[in-house]
Protein backbone atom coordinates (compact mmCIF):
# COMPACT_ATOMS: atom_id res chain seq x y z
CA UNK A 1 0.00 0.00 0.00
CA UNK A 2 1.29 3.48 -0.81
CA UNK A 3 1.84 5.79 2.13
CA UNK A 4 -1.01 8.17 1.27
CA UNK A 5 -3.46 5.38 0.52
CA UNK A 6 -6.15 4.60 3.09
CA UNK A 7 -6.80 1.01 4.20
CA UNK A 8 -8.86 -0.72 1.52
CA UNK A 9 -10.00 -3.81 3.37
CA UNK A 10 -11.06 -4.94 6.82
CA UNK A 11 -7.75 -6.58 7.77
CA UNK A 12 -5.70 -3.55 6.84
CA UNK A 13 -8.04 -1.20 8.68
CA UNK A 14 -7.82 -3.34 11.80
CA UNK A 15 -4.03 -3.33 11.55
CA UNK A 16 -4.06 0.45 11.29
CA UNK A 17 -6.51 0.83 14.16
CA UNK A 18 -4.48 -1.50 16.34
CA UNK A 19 -1.33 0.52 15.61
CA UNK A 20 -3.08 3.86 16.20
CA UNK A 21 -4.52 2.90 19.57
CA UNK A 22 -1.44 1.11 20.86
CA UNK A 23 0.95 3.82 19.78
CA UNK A 24 -1.31 6.43 21.36
CA UNK A 25 -1.47 4.48 24.61
CA UNK A 26 2.28 4.04 24.68
CA UNK A 27 2.94 7.69 23.84
CA UNK A 28 0.54 9.01 26.48
CA UNK A 29 2.23 6.77 29.04
CA UNK A 30 5.68 7.97 27.95
CA UNK A 31 4.51 11.57 28.32
CA UNK A 32 3.01 10.80 31.72
CA UNK A 33 6.35 9.33 32.81
CA UNK A 34 8.14 12.45 31.56
CA UNK A 35 5.84 14.66 33.58
CA UNK A 36 6.21 12.57 36.72
CA UNK A 37 10.00 12.76 36.32
CA UNK A 38 9.65 16.56 36.38
CA UNK A 39 7.22 16.53 39.30
CA UNK A 40 4.44 17.85 37.07
CA UNK A 41 2.01 15.33 38.53
CA UNK A 42 -1.19 17.08 37.48
CA UNK A 43 -0.37 16.76 33.79
CA UNK A 44 1.22 13.36 34.40
CA UNK A 45 -2.07 12.10 35.81
CA UNK A 46 -3.97 13.44 32.79
CA UNK A 47 -1.66 11.70 30.35
CA UNK A 48 -1.79 8.50 32.40
CA UNK A 49 -5.59 8.57 32.28
CA UNK A 50 -5.52 9.07 28.52
CA UNK A 51 -3.05 6.17 28.22
CA UNK A 52 -5.46 4.00 30.14
CA UNK A 53 -8.35 4.95 27.84
CA UNK A 54 -6.35 4.24 24.69
CA UNK A 55 -5.07 0.93 26.06
CA UNK A 56 -8.64 -0.08 26.83
CA UNK A 57 -9.64 0.87 23.30
CA UNK A 58 -6.81 -1.24 21.89
CA UNK A 59 -7.83 -4.19 24.04
CA UNK A 60 -11.42 -3.88 22.80
CA UNK A 61 -10.18 -3.91 19.23
CA UNK A 62 -8.49 -7.22 19.89
CA UNK A 63 -11.39 -8.69 21.80
CA UNK A 64 -14.24 -7.61 19.54
CA UNK A 65 -12.57 -7.62 16.15
CA UNK A 66 -9.56 -9.86 16.54
CA UNK A 67 -7.21 -7.00 15.73
CA UNK A 68 -3.58 -7.85 16.29
CA UNK A 69 -0.12 -6.70 15.48
CA UNK A 70 0.75 -7.53 11.91
CA UNK A 71 4.09 -7.79 10.17
CA UNK A 72 3.39 -4.66 8.12
CA UNK A 73 6.47 -2.56 7.45
CA UNK A 74 6.37 0.88 9.07
CA UNK A 75 6.31 2.62 5.69
CA UNK A 76 3.24 0.62 4.62
CA UNK A 77 0.96 2.38 7.06
CA UNK A 78 -1.18 5.13 5.59
CA UNK A 79 0.75 7.79 7.48
CA UNK A 80 4.03 6.65 5.92
CA UNK A 81 7.02 8.01 7.76
CA UNK A 82 5.02 10.36 9.93
CA UNK A 83 3.86 9.59 13.45
CA UNK A 84 0.59 7.69 13.69
CA UNK A 85 -2.27 10.21 13.91
CA UNK A 86 -3.09 9.87 17.59
CA UNK A 87 0.45 10.19 18.94
CA UNK A 88 1.45 13.57 20.36
CA UNK A 89 4.95 14.38 19.07
CA UNK A 90 7.61 14.23 21.79
CA UNK A 91 8.91 17.61 20.66
CA UNK A 92 5.71 19.37 21.75
CA UNK A 93 6.44 18.85 25.43
CA UNK A 94 7.66 21.31 28.05
CA UNK A 95 8.35 20.41 31.65
CA UNK A 96 6.08 23.20 32.94
CA UNK A 97 3.22 22.46 30.57
CA UNK A 98 -0.21 23.21 32.05
CA UNK A 99 -3.25 20.87 31.91
CA UNK A 100 -5.02 23.10 29.39
CA UNK A 101 -2.04 22.93 27.03
CA UNK A 102 -1.67 19.18 27.50
CA UNK A 103 -5.34 18.65 26.74
CA UNK A 104 -5.12 20.93 23.71
CA UNK A 105 -2.38 18.68 22.35
CA UNK A 106 -4.47 15.61 23.20
CA UNK A 107 -7.48 17.11 21.47
CA UNK A 108 -5.47 17.70 18.31
CA UNK A 109 -4.29 14.06 18.45
CA UNK A 110 -7.82 12.72 18.92
CA UNK A 111 -9.06 14.92 16.07
CA UNK A 112 -6.34 13.59 13.78
CA UNK A 113 -7.46 10.04 14.54
CA UNK A 114 -11.08 11.04 13.92
CA UNK A 115 -10.13 12.59 10.58
CA UNK A 116 -8.22 9.43 9.63
CA UNK A 117 -11.21 7.16 10.23
CA UNK A 118 -13.56 9.65 8.58
CA UNK A 119 -11.39 9.54 5.46
CA UNK A 120 -11.57 5.75 5.50
CA UNK A 121 -15.37 5.94 5.66
CA UNK A 122 -15.47 8.34 2.73
CA UNK A 123 -13.13 6.23 0.61
CA UNK A 124 -14.30 2.75 1.64
CA UNK A 125 -14.88 0.54 -1.41
CA UNK A 126 -17.17 -1.88 0.46
CA UNK A 127 -20.04 -1.62 2.94
CA UNK A 128 -18.25 -3.94 5.33
CA UNK A 129 -15.22 -1.65 5.52
CA UNK A 130 -17.40 1.47 5.74
CA UNK A 131 -19.41 0.02 8.61
CA UNK A 132 -16.30 -0.88 10.55
CA UNK A 133 -14.72 2.52 9.94
CA UNK A 134 -17.97 4.24 11.01
CA UNK A 135 -17.77 2.35 14.28
CA UNK A 136 -14.26 3.71 14.83
CA UNK A 137 -15.42 7.20 13.89
CA UNK A 138 -18.05 7.04 16.63
CA UNK A 139 -15.51 5.89 19.19
CA UNK A 140 -13.04 8.61 18.27
CA UNK A 141 -15.81 11.20 18.33
CA UNK A 142 -16.49 10.12 21.92
CA UNK A 143 -12.82 10.63 22.76
CA UNK A 144 -12.86 14.07 21.16
CA UNK A 145 -15.96 15.01 23.16
CA UNK A 146 -14.39 13.71 26.36
CA UNK A 147 -11.21 15.73 25.91
CA UNK A 148 -13.25 18.82 25.02
CA UNK A 149 -15.21 18.36 28.23
CA UNK A 150 -12.00 18.03 30.25
CA UNK A 151 -10.63 21.15 28.60
CA UNK A 152 -13.50 23.16 30.05
CA UNK A 153 -12.36 22.29 33.55
CA UNK A 154 -8.95 23.89 33.18
CA UNK A 155 -8.24 27.57 32.58
CA UNK A 156 -5.94 28.69 29.83
CA UNK A 157 -2.40 29.23 31.13
CA UNK A 158 -1.18 32.62 32.25
CA UNK A 159 1.24 34.39 29.91
CA UNK A 160 4.13 33.56 32.26
CA UNK A 161 3.26 29.88 32.60
CA UNK A 162 6.80 28.82 31.79
CA UNK A 163 8.43 30.99 34.44
CA UNK A 164 10.57 28.83 36.70
CA UNK A 165 11.66 30.22 40.05
CA UNK A 166 14.60 27.85 39.94
CA UNK A 167 15.45 27.80 36.24
CA UNK A 168 17.95 25.42 34.69
CA UNK A 169 19.49 28.31 32.74
CA UNK A 170 21.35 30.68 35.04
CA UNK A 171 20.62 34.38 34.37
Amino acid sequence: MNAAEKPGNRETLLAHAYAIENEAAERYQDLADQMYACNNTEVGDLFAKLAEIEAKHAAELSLEHGAARTPMAAADYAWGNLESPEAIPFGEMHYLIQPHQALTLALAAEERALAFYTDVVNQAPTDDLRNLAEEFVLEEAEHVALVREWLQRYPEPEHDWDTDDDPPVQP
Binding site: Q34, A37, C38, F90, H94, V169, Q170
Partner: protein, 277 residues
Amino acid sequence: MNAETACALTARDYKSDLKPVWCPGCGDFSILMAITMAMADVGRPPEEVAVISGIGCSSRVPAYTSCYGFHGVHGRALPLATGLKLSRPDLLVIAAGGDGDGYSIGGNHFMHACRRNVDLTYIVMDNQVYGMTKGQPSPTTPPEWDSALVPGGTGLSPFHPLVIALAAGANFVARTFSGDAKGTAQTIVEAINHPGFSLIEILSPCVTFRPEEREWAKQVHPASVDATEDRARAARRVLTDDGFNTGILYRGNRAPYQPAFKPDDAAKVDFEAEFLP
Protein backbone atom coordinates in the same frame (compact mmCIF):
# COMPACT_ATOMS: atom_id res chain seq x y z
CA MET B 1 13.67 -9.46 7.47
CA ASN B 2 10.97 -12.06 7.13
CA ALA B 3 7.44 -11.74 8.49
CA GLU B 4 8.08 -14.28 11.21
CA THR B 5 10.95 -12.24 12.64
CA ALA B 6 8.92 -9.05 12.34
CA CYS B 7 6.15 -10.61 14.42
CA ALA B 8 8.60 -11.91 16.98
CA LEU B 9 10.25 -8.63 17.93
CA THR B 10 8.90 -5.14 18.40
CA ALA B 11 10.49 -1.86 19.40
CA ARG B 12 9.16 -2.43 22.89
CA ASP B 13 11.34 -5.52 23.21
CA TYR B 14 14.39 -3.29 23.06
CA LYS B 15 13.24 -0.81 25.71
CA SER B 16 14.31 -1.29 29.30
CA ASP B 17 12.11 -0.59 32.31
CA LEU B 18 14.08 2.52 33.17
CA LYS B 19 12.31 5.79 32.39
CA PRO B 20 14.40 8.41 30.62
CA VAL B 21 15.15 11.52 32.65
CA TRP B 22 15.68 13.81 29.67
CA CYS B 23 13.84 17.13 29.66
CA PRO B 24 10.36 16.89 28.15
CA GLY B 25 10.60 18.06 24.54
CA CYS B 26 14.17 16.76 24.13
CA GLY B 27 14.88 15.21 20.74
CA ASP B 28 16.53 12.23 22.38
CA PHE B 29 13.15 10.67 23.23
CA SER B 30 12.37 10.31 19.54
CA ILE B 31 15.85 9.04 18.82
CA LEU B 32 15.53 6.35 21.47
CA MET B 33 12.28 5.34 19.80
CA ALA B 34 14.02 5.32 16.41
CA ILE B 35 16.85 3.16 17.74
CA THR B 36 14.46 0.58 19.19
CA MET B 37 12.36 0.59 16.01
CA ALA B 38 15.49 0.05 13.93
CA MET B 39 16.62 -2.83 16.11
CA ALA B 40 13.24 -4.50 15.75
CA ASP B 41 13.44 -4.04 12.01
CA VAL B 42 16.94 -5.51 11.83
CA GLY B 43 15.61 -8.40 13.89
CA ARG B 44 18.66 -9.22 15.99
CA PRO B 45 17.53 -10.19 19.51
CA PRO B 46 18.58 -7.85 22.33
CA GLU B 47 21.20 -10.27 23.60
CA GLU B 48 23.03 -10.01 20.27
CA VAL B 49 23.21 -6.23 20.39
CA ALA B 50 25.52 -3.98 22.41
CA VAL B 51 24.94 -0.24 22.83
CA ILE B 52 28.04 1.65 23.92
CA SER B 53 28.21 5.26 25.06
CA GLY B 54 30.34 7.87 26.74
CA ILE B 55 29.05 10.67 28.95
CA GLY B 56 26.29 13.21 28.47
CA CYS B 57 22.51 13.42 28.27
CA SER B 58 22.30 11.30 25.14
CA SER B 59 24.92 8.88 26.43
CA ARG B 60 22.36 7.58 28.90
CA VAL B 61 20.80 5.65 26.03
CA PRO B 62 22.28 2.19 26.81
CA ALA B 63 20.39 2.15 30.11
CA TYR B 64 17.13 2.73 28.30
CA THR B 65 17.55 -0.30 26.05
CA SER B 66 17.31 -3.96 26.98
CA CYS B 67 20.46 -4.81 25.00
CA TYR B 68 23.89 -5.28 26.44
CA GLY B 69 25.34 -1.88 27.15
CA PHE B 70 28.31 -0.01 28.46
CA HIS B 71 28.07 3.56 29.75
CA GLY B 72 31.74 4.33 29.44
CA VAL B 73 34.18 7.12 30.11
CA HIS B 74 33.66 10.57 28.58
CA GLY B 75 34.56 10.56 24.90
CA ARG B 76 35.50 6.90 24.88
CA ALA B 77 32.44 5.30 23.33
CA LEU B 78 34.24 4.59 20.08
CA PRO B 79 37.36 2.85 21.42
CA LEU B 80 35.12 0.72 23.62
CA ALA B 81 32.84 -0.11 20.72
CA THR B 82 35.81 -0.80 18.45
CA GLY B 83 37.39 -3.18 20.91
CA LEU B 84 34.13 -4.96 21.50
CA LYS B 85 33.40 -5.40 17.80
CA LEU B 86 36.87 -6.72 17.08
CA SER B 87 36.75 -9.24 19.89
CA ARG B 88 33.10 -10.15 19.35
CA PRO B 89 32.40 -9.71 15.63
CA ASP B 90 29.21 -11.71 16.06
CA LEU B 91 27.59 -8.84 18.00
CA LEU B 92 25.76 -5.92 16.48
CA VAL B 93 27.59 -2.95 18.02
CA ILE B 94 26.09 0.52 18.17
CA ALA B 95 27.92 3.49 19.68
CA ALA B 96 25.85 6.48 20.71
CA GLY B 97 26.36 9.86 22.31
CA GLY B 98 26.33 13.59 21.86
CA ASP B 99 28.32 16.20 20.03
CA GLY B 100 30.43 17.17 23.02
CA ASP B 101 31.28 13.60 23.92
CA GLY B 102 31.94 12.54 20.35
CA TYR B 103 33.52 15.56 18.70
CA SER B 104 35.38 17.24 21.54
CA ILE B 105 36.41 14.91 24.33
CA GLY B 106 36.28 11.98 21.91
CA GLY B 107 37.29 13.92 18.82
CA ASN B 108 40.52 12.08 18.22
CA HIS B 109 38.83 8.72 18.65
CA PHE B 110 36.16 9.85 16.21
CA MET B 111 38.67 10.50 13.43
CA HIS B 112 40.51 7.25 13.96
CA ALA B 113 37.33 5.21 14.21
CA CYS B 114 36.39 6.59 10.79
CA ARG B 115 39.87 5.72 9.52
CA ARG B 116 39.81 2.19 10.92
CA ASN B 117 36.40 1.52 9.42
CA VAL B 118 35.43 -1.21 11.86
CA ASP B 119 31.91 -2.50 11.19
CA LEU B 120 29.89 -0.51 13.70
CA THR B 121 27.27 2.23 13.71
CA TYR B 122 27.85 5.53 15.49
CA ILE B 123 24.78 7.60 16.34
CA VAL B 124 25.50 11.18 17.36
CA MET B 125 22.63 13.15 18.89
CA ASP B 126 23.82 16.64 18.04
CA ASN B 127 22.15 19.45 19.99
CA GLN B 128 25.05 21.87 19.59
CA VAL B 129 25.42 22.37 23.32
CA TYR B 130 26.61 20.63 26.49
CA GLY B 131 23.23 20.04 28.09
CA MET B 132 24.14 17.86 31.04
CA THR B 133 26.57 20.46 32.39
CA LYS B 134 24.08 23.29 31.87
CA GLY B 135 24.68 24.90 28.54
CA GLN B 136 28.31 25.41 27.57
CA PRO B 137 29.06 25.68 23.85
CA SER B 138 30.12 22.45 22.18
CA PRO B 139 32.27 21.93 19.06
CA THR B 140 29.22 22.27 16.81
CA THR B 141 27.75 25.38 18.46
CA PRO B 142 27.43 28.32 16.04
CA PRO B 143 30.03 31.03 16.77
CA GLU B 144 27.44 33.73 17.37
CA TRP B 145 25.38 31.83 19.94
CA ASP B 146 25.08 34.27 22.81
CA SER B 147 24.41 33.06 26.34
CA ALA B 148 25.20 33.92 29.93
CA LEU B 149 28.11 31.51 29.83
CA VAL B 150 29.54 32.82 26.54
CA PRO B 151 28.52 36.47 26.22
CA GLY B 152 28.72 37.46 22.57
CA GLY B 153 29.32 33.89 21.46
CA THR B 154 32.52 31.93 21.08
CA GLY B 155 33.47 33.40 17.73
CA LEU B 156 34.91 30.00 16.90
CA SER B 157 34.34 28.17 13.67
CA PRO B 158 32.22 25.09 14.41
CA PHE B 159 33.47 21.56 13.90
CA HIS B 160 32.10 19.98 10.72
CA PRO B 161 31.66 16.32 11.68
CA LEU B 162 30.33 15.01 8.39
CA VAL B 163 33.19 16.45 6.34
CA ILE B 164 35.71 15.23 8.86
CA ALA B 165 34.12 11.77 8.83
CA LEU B 166 34.34 11.68 5.05
CA ALA B 167 37.93 12.89 5.03
CA ALA B 168 38.89 10.36 7.69
CA GLY B 169 37.37 7.40 5.85
CA ALA B 170 33.90 6.69 7.25
CA ASN B 171 32.04 4.31 4.97
CA PHE B 172 28.49 5.60 5.46
CA VAL B 173 27.44 9.14 6.37
CA ALA B 174 23.92 10.37 7.00
CA ARG B 175 22.12 13.23 8.68
CA THR B 176 18.60 12.97 10.11
CA PHE B 177 16.31 14.93 12.41
CA SER B 178 14.94 13.63 15.69
CA GLY B 179 11.44 14.85 14.79
CA ASP B 180 11.43 12.31 11.97
CA ALA B 181 11.65 9.19 14.10
CA LYS B 182 10.58 6.74 11.43
CA GLY B 183 12.91 8.21 8.82
CA THR B 184 15.69 8.09 11.38
CA ALA B 185 14.88 4.47 12.16
CA GLN B 186 15.12 3.57 8.48
CA THR B 187 18.46 5.34 8.21
CA ILE B 188 19.77 3.48 11.25
CA VAL B 189 18.73 0.20 9.66
CA GLU B 190 20.60 1.12 6.49
CA ALA B 191 23.64 2.15 8.50
CA ILE B 192 23.64 -1.12 10.41
CA ASN B 193 23.33 -3.12 7.21
CA HIS B 194 26.10 -1.19 5.47
CA PRO B 195 29.53 -2.70 6.14
CA GLY B 196 32.15 -0.63 7.90
CA PHE B 197 31.96 2.48 10.06
CA SER B 198 28.66 4.33 9.72
CA LEU B 199 28.03 7.79 11.12
CA ILE B 200 24.51 9.08 11.62
CA GLU B 201 24.41 12.68 12.72
CA ILE B 202 20.97 13.32 14.21
CA LEU B 203 19.90 16.89 14.81
CA SER B 204 18.32 16.69 18.27
CA PRO B 205 17.00 19.91 19.80
CA CYS B 206 17.98 20.79 23.36
CA VAL B 207 14.79 22.57 24.39
CA THR B 208 16.18 23.65 27.75
CA PHE B 209 19.46 25.33 26.88
CA ARG B 210 18.83 25.99 23.18
CA PRO B 211 15.05 26.53 23.03
CA GLU B 212 15.43 28.18 19.64
CA GLU B 213 16.30 24.74 18.29
CA ARG B 214 12.60 23.88 18.34
CA GLU B 215 12.61 25.79 15.04
CA TRP B 216 14.72 23.05 13.47
CA ALA B 217 11.49 21.22 12.73
CA LYS B 218 10.72 23.94 10.18
CA GLN B 219 14.24 24.13 8.80
CA VAL B 220 15.10 20.52 8.03
CA HIS B 221 14.45 19.22 4.54
CA PRO B 222 15.32 16.05 2.65
CA ALA B 223 18.50 16.21 0.61
CA SER B 224 17.60 16.93 -2.97
CA VAL B 225 20.11 14.42 -4.34
CA ASP B 226 20.65 10.74 -3.75
CA ALA B 227 23.54 9.36 -1.75
CA THR B 228 26.80 9.29 -3.66
CA GLU B 229 29.67 6.82 -3.64
CA ASP B 230 32.05 9.64 -4.51
CA ARG B 231 33.69 10.80 -1.28
CA ALA B 232 34.86 14.13 -2.70
CA ARG B 233 31.43 14.93 -4.08
CA ALA B 234 29.80 14.07 -0.76
CA ALA B 235 32.27 16.31 1.07
CA ARG B 236 31.58 19.20 -1.29
CA ARG B 237 27.85 18.76 -0.76
CA VAL B 238 27.99 18.78 3.02
CA LEU B 239 30.47 21.66 3.05
CA THR B 240 28.16 23.82 1.01
CA ASP B 241 24.74 22.82 2.29
CA ASP B 242 22.78 24.69 4.96
CA GLY B 243 23.31 22.05 7.61
CA PHE B 244 19.67 21.03 7.55
CA ASN B 245 19.43 18.67 4.60
CA THR B 246 18.72 15.15 5.73
CA GLY B 247 19.15 11.70 4.30
CA ILE B 248 21.92 9.31 3.43
CA LEU B 249 24.70 11.44 2.01
CA TYR B 250 27.45 8.94 1.32
CA ARG B 251 27.75 5.18 0.88
CA GLY B 252 31.30 3.99 0.49
CA ASN B 253 32.66 0.63 -0.51
CA ARG B 254 35.76 0.28 1.65
CA ALA B 255 36.14 -3.15 3.16
CA PRO B 256 35.73 -3.02 6.94
CA TYR B 257 38.79 -3.50 9.07
CA GLN B 258 39.12 -6.98 10.50
CA PRO B 259 42.19 -8.12 12.36
CA ALA B 260 44.30 -10.78 10.67
CA PHE B 261 44.25 -12.86 13.80
CA LYS B 262 41.19 -14.52 15.25
CA PRO B 263 40.56 -13.83 18.90
CA ASP B 264 41.79 -16.75 20.92
CA ASP B 265 38.78 -18.44 22.49
CA ALA B 266 40.90 -19.96 25.23
CA ALA B 267 42.26 -16.54 26.15
CA LYS B 268 38.71 -15.16 26.23
CA VAL B 269 37.63 -17.93 28.55
CA ASP B 270 40.53 -17.14 30.87
CA PHE B 271 39.68 -13.46 30.75
CA GLU B 272 36.01 -14.03 31.45
CA ALA B 273 36.89 -16.34 34.32
CA GLU B 274 38.42 -13.37 36.11
CA PHE B 275 34.97 -11.86 36.35
CA LEU B 276 33.16 -14.95 37.52
CA PRO B 277 32.65 -15.63 41.21
